[in-house]
Amino acid sequence: MTDNKQATDRKNKPFLLVAIAAISILFGIWVSTLSVKSTATVPKSLEATLLERSKPVTSFSLVDHDNNEFNLQSLKGNWSFLFFGFTNCPDVCPITLQVMRSVWKTPALQKLIETNTKMIFVSVDPDRDKPEHLKSYVQYYNPKFVGVTGKQDQIDTLTSQLGILYGFDDPNENGDYNVSHSGQIILIDPQANMRAVFSPPFNPQSISKDFLAIQKFVKDN
């Protein structure tokens, strides 16, 4: 009995080995094609900076221009372009919002915009930018744009995660003060991960093109 078994085993062993080898080789080829596919879709020639590793955004608590809670949950389920500024800004903020207004008119983005893409203007100057004022301001550029603000410490909780800096200058004799701030636009994915940074000077064509490439890359991976 044992002899027969051993004989059978000895006969089957080479076949088994070949089978295992064949499967391993096929598996290896399959895995390698997977990785070739992944690296081939990393968007090349982006003007935006795509983060090597997406960074999960963590909890914060702000309000939108309708005075509704705006928090981490609000970032989930859609792509978000976030820009930080203030409405007493004469140059940088209006220009950026004009650019985004143009982006929102791009034919190739219409489907994404209608379903799951948002433009959010966060005012870091809550003393002057009350939600109602913010609403009129952003909706002038596009009725779908969202204004967000809140308590200074919560604004900081969000800006510090995204590498955005801002600061208040001393008021002048008229009580006016300037707010210095970073000029970048941050792109957040529907899982509320920071994905990319757009740096000025902005161009609506390149923002649109980069966004399409980035969202496709994230979708395919």
Binding site: P90, V92, Q98, Y137, Y140, S182, P204
Partner: protein, 159 residues
């Protein structure tokens, strides 16, 4: 006696002439020429607007703008934008000097005229008048109409 009279007359005429020259100063030769004035439309609730332009010093002397005013705005200031510690920041300028023969461009991300607190919301097509006061005493009034900026046709100077 006659001599004294003549001398007084001469002095009077001289004084009169120099003050007369002052008031016709700006028509005798051009000093600053303002061109490419662009005032983009802003949200009606915005408390600031901006004016971009080129300013050419056509004279053979340095000219200094010491203040700007407008009937349409409570205050007008000249600001310069710069990058500091990775942040965009603005600095109000007390005056703006332009060397003889030089042209400076007031444009996005650089020098600009800040129009503060419009007396009423300004829309596309509304006329804005700006009066530039020079340290020489000369005043130059320019006007432009608010434009709706479609980003695709907004020409930037990029340096």
């Amino acid at each position: 006696m006659i001599n004294k009279l003549i001398i007084s007359l001469c002095f009077t005429l001289l004084l009169f002439n120099s003050s007369y020259a002052e008031s016709t100063h700006k028509t005798d030769y051009p000093t600053l020429n303002f061109s490419k004035i662009v005032i983009p439309e802003a949200p009606p609730v915005a408390s600031v607007m901006v004016a971009y332009m080129d300013i050419a010093n056509m004279s053979n002397q340095k000219q200094t703008i010491s203040s700007v005013s407008s009937e349409q705005f409570k205050r007008v200031e000249i600001h310069n934008m710069s990058m500091e510690n990775d942040m965009m920041t603005m600095e109000r300028l007390a005056s703006l000097s332009i060397n003889a023969g030089q042209t400076i461009a007031l444009e996005s991300n650089g020098l600009h005229v800040m129009l503060i607190k419009p007396n009423k919301p300004l829309r596309k097509g509304d006329k804005v008048e700006l009066t530039f006061k020079l340290s020489s005493g000369e005043q130059i009034t320019v006007s432009s109409h608010v434009k709706l900026i479609n980003f695709n046709n907004h020409h930037h100077h990029h340096h």
